[in-house]
C-alpha cells in the first residue's frame, strides 16, 4: 500500500472560526477513501484543501502540510491549474455548463490545448464509458447537458472530470440529490474506477460509505475522530462518537 496523500497537522480558520483542528492522515493509492460526518464537521473544507478551491474564499487561513506525491501543496508554490487537472472534483449538485454533452466533456481537454476533433472524440467516448454513461449518451452528444436527468448530469460531471485524466478524484456528496438507481450506477462506476485512480468520497450516507469504501474517516466538529479500514471502523469503532454516528444516534 502506497500513500498518495499525506496530511500533517492541518488547521483551517475562517476569520477566527476554526473549522479543521489538527488533522493527520494518509490516503492510499487505488482505494476509495470515505469521509463522513454530520453537517459542519469540516468534510467539504477538507476536500477543498486538496484541490485548492478553498483559496477562492475570503479570509481563510491554512496551517500545516498536505503532501500529494511528496509535494507540499500548501506551502510550496504549486500551479493551481496543474493541480486541478491532477485532482479532479465532482460536486454535490451536478453542475454541467450550459453547453452540449460533448462540449462539457471536451471543455477540460480543450483548455489543455487539445484541438484535434478525433482526439477529443476519443477522450469524450472513453470518459463517458468509464462513467457508465456512453450507452445512454452516444446518440445525444449534441443535446444540451442541461436537458439530462439529475443522475445523468452527475455521471456527466464524473465523465468530464475523468476527461482531465486526473490521478485523484474528489467527490463531494455526489449522490445527495439522486434516486437509488442513479446512486447505484455512480457507485458501480466508482468501484470500477479505483483500479486506476485514488478516490475520495465525502458522504453523509453511512451506508454508502460502508458499501463501497476501503478506508473511512469520521470527522466531527473539525476533528478527525477515527480513521481506518472501513470494515474495522464499521464493526469495531474505537470511539464512542463514531459508533453513535454510524448507528444513527445523531447526525
Amino acid at each position: 500500500m502506497k500513500a498518495k496523500i499525506t496530511v500533517k497537522d492541518l488547521e483551517v480558520f475562517f476569520d477566527k472560526n476554526q473549522v479543521l483542528r489538527g488533522i493527520n492522515l494518509s490516503i492510499n493509492k487505488n482505494m476509495i477513501t470515505g469521509i463522513m460526518g454530520p453537517a459542519g464537521s469540516g468534510k467539504s473544507t477538507f476536500i477543498s484543501i486538496l484541490n485548492k478551491m478553498l483559496e477562492f474564499e475570503d479570509n481563510v487561513t491554512i496551517k500545516g502540510n498536505v503532501y500529494i506525491d511528496g509535494v507540499d501543496i500548501i506551502n510550496s508554490d504549486v500551479d493551481q491549474v496543474e493541480l486541478r487537472r491532477k485532482v479532479g472534483t465532482v460536486f454535490a449538485v451536478p453542475i454541467p455548463l450550459p453547453r452540449s454533452v460533448f462540449e462539457n466533456i471536451a471543455y477540460g481537454p480543450r483548455l489543455k490545448g487539445i484541438k484535434d476533433r478525433d482526439e477529443l472524440f476519443t477522450i469524450v467516448k472513453e470518459s463517458l464509458e468509464k462513467a457508465f454513461l456512453w450507452d445512454e449518451m452516444k446518440d445525444r452528444l449534441n443535446t444540451s447537458a442541461l436537458k439530462l436527468s439529475g443522475g445523468q448530469q452527475q455521471r456527466l460531471c464524473l465523465a468530464r472530470t475523468l476527461a482531465l485524466k486526473p490521478e485523484i478524484i474528489l467527490l463531494d456528496e455526489p449522490c445527495s440529490g439522486l434516486d437509488p438507481i442513479s446512486t447505484a450506477k455512480i457507485e458501480d462506476a466508482l468501484s470500477d474506477l479505483k483500479k486506476e485512480y485514488t478516490i475520495i468520497l465525502v458522504s453523509n450516507n453511512t451506508k454508502q460509505i460502508a458499501r463501497i469504501t476501503d478506508y473511512s474517516a469520521f470527522f466531527y466538529m473539525g476533528n478527525l475522530i477515527e480513521y481506518g479500514p472501513t470494515e474495522k471502523v464499521f464493526t469495531y469503532p474505537a470511539n464512542k462518537k463514531t459508533e453513535d454516528y454510524i448507528s444513527g444516534k445523531f447526525g
Binding site: 491549474v81 479532479g88 460536486f91 454541467p96 455548463l97 471543455y107 477540460g108 483548455l111 468530464r160 472530470t161
Partner: protein, 279 residues
C-alpha cells in the same frame, strides 16, 4: 371600507404613470404627424436640408448624427463598462466593491449639464489641440456620452454577471481552467443577454441625452464626414429651436420628436427582449 379605499387610491397612482406615457405619446404624434402628411415621409426622413422657415424639413443628417454619437458612446463606454463590471463581480474584494458601487451611483446622479461643462472646458480644447478641427465634434460628444452611459452599462452587466451561478465558476475552475478562462468561456457567455441589454439601454441613454450634447457637439446642420466634424442630433435640434419656433417650423420639431420616440421604443423593445430571453 378603508382597505378598499387604499387599494383603489394606490391603483390610481400606479396607473397614472401609464396615463402620462400615453399622454406624451398622443401629444407628440398629434403634433408631429400632420407634417409627415404635408411634407411627405421621404422628404423629412431622407431630406438633407433643414430650413424649416423656408419649407425644408430634412432631418437625415440629424438621424445619422444621433446614431453616430450613440455608437461612438457605445464604442467608448461599452468595453470600459463591461471591464469594470467584470472587475467588480469577479476580482474586487468586498472593500473595493463598497467603494466603487457608491461612486458609480454618484456618477449616474451628476446632472448632464455638468458633463457638458466638463466637456466644453477640457475635452473640446483637448480634441482641438491634439486632433485638429473645431473641437466641438463627434469625437468630443462620443467621449462625454461614453462616460455618461457607464453607470447604466456597469450596473446592468454587473447584475447579469452576478446572476451567473457560482457553481458554473467552480465547475470550470475544477476542470483546470484559469480564472480568466473561466470568465471569458463560461461567465460572460452565460451573462451575454444581460450584457447586451446593458449596451442597448446605454444606447437609449446616449441617444436621448440633450444638454451635454448641445454643449459639446457644435450643432452644425450637416452630416459629419469625419470624427472631428461638428454635428447636431435629433434631441439638440428640438431643444435649440423650440423656444422660437412657430407654425410649420414648430411642427417640424415635433416630427423630429416622433422619429426620436420611435428609435427609442425600438431600442427598449430589443433590450427587454434580450433580458427576457436571458432569464
Amino acid at each position: 371600507m378603508k382597505e378598499y379605499f387604499v387599494k383603489y387610491m394606490l391603483m390610481a397612482f400606479a396607473l397614472s404613470s401609464l396615463f402620462f406615457l400615453f399622454l406624451i405619446f398622443i401629444f407628440i404624434l398629434f403634433e408631429g404627424l400632420p407634417l409627415f402628411h404635408k411634407a411627405g415621409l421621404k422628404h423629412i426622413i431622407l431630406g438633407s436640408k433643414w430650413a424649416p422657415t423656408k419649407g425644408s424639413f430634412g432631418i437625415f443628417p440629424m438621424i445619422i448624427s444621433s446614431f453616430l454619437v450613440t455608437f461612438g458612446a457605445l464604442i467608448i463606454g461599452g468595453p470600459m463598462g463591461l471591464s469594470c463590471a467584470i472587475y467588480l463581480s469577479e476580482y474586487s474584494g468586498k472593500r473595493m466593491k463598497m467603494f466603487l458601487k457608491p461612486a458609480l451611483e454618484l456618477l449616474a446622479g451628476i446632472p448632464s449639464v455638468v458633463y457638458g461643462f466638463l466637456g466644453v472646458v477640457y475635452i473640446v480644447p483637448l480634441v482641438r489641440d491634439y486632433f485638429g478641427g473645431p473641437g466641438f465634434s463627434l469625437l468630443s460628444t462620443s467621449l462625454i456620452l461614453g462616460v455618461m452611459i457607464l453607470p447604466t452599462v456597469i450596473s446592468i452587466s454587473f447584475d447579469a454577471l452576478m446572476s451567473v451561478p457560482k457553481t458554473y465558476r467552480e465547475g470550470s475552475l475544477a476542470m483546470g481552467a484559469t480564472k480568466w478562462q473561466t470568465i471569458y468561456k463560461v461567465v460572460v457567455p452565460s451573462a451575454k443577454s444581460g450584457i447586451l441589454a446593458s449596451f442597448i439601454l446605454g444606447m437609449g441613454r446616449a441617444i436621448g441625452e440633450t444638454m451635454a450634447v448641445i454643449m459639446v457637439a457644435g450643432n452644425a446642420l450637416r452630416t459629419p464626414l469625419s470624427i472631428l466634424d461638428p454635428l447636431r442630433t435629433l434631441t439638440s435640434n428640438i431643444a435649440l429651436e423650440l423656444a422660437y419656433a412657430s407654425g410649420d417650423h414648430r411642427l417640424g420639431l415635433f416630427s423630429t420628436g416622433v422619429v426620436l420616440l420611435i428609435i427609442i421604443m425600438i431600442l427598449n423593445y430589443i433590450a427587454n427582449f434580450g433580458i427576457k430571453k436571458g432569464s
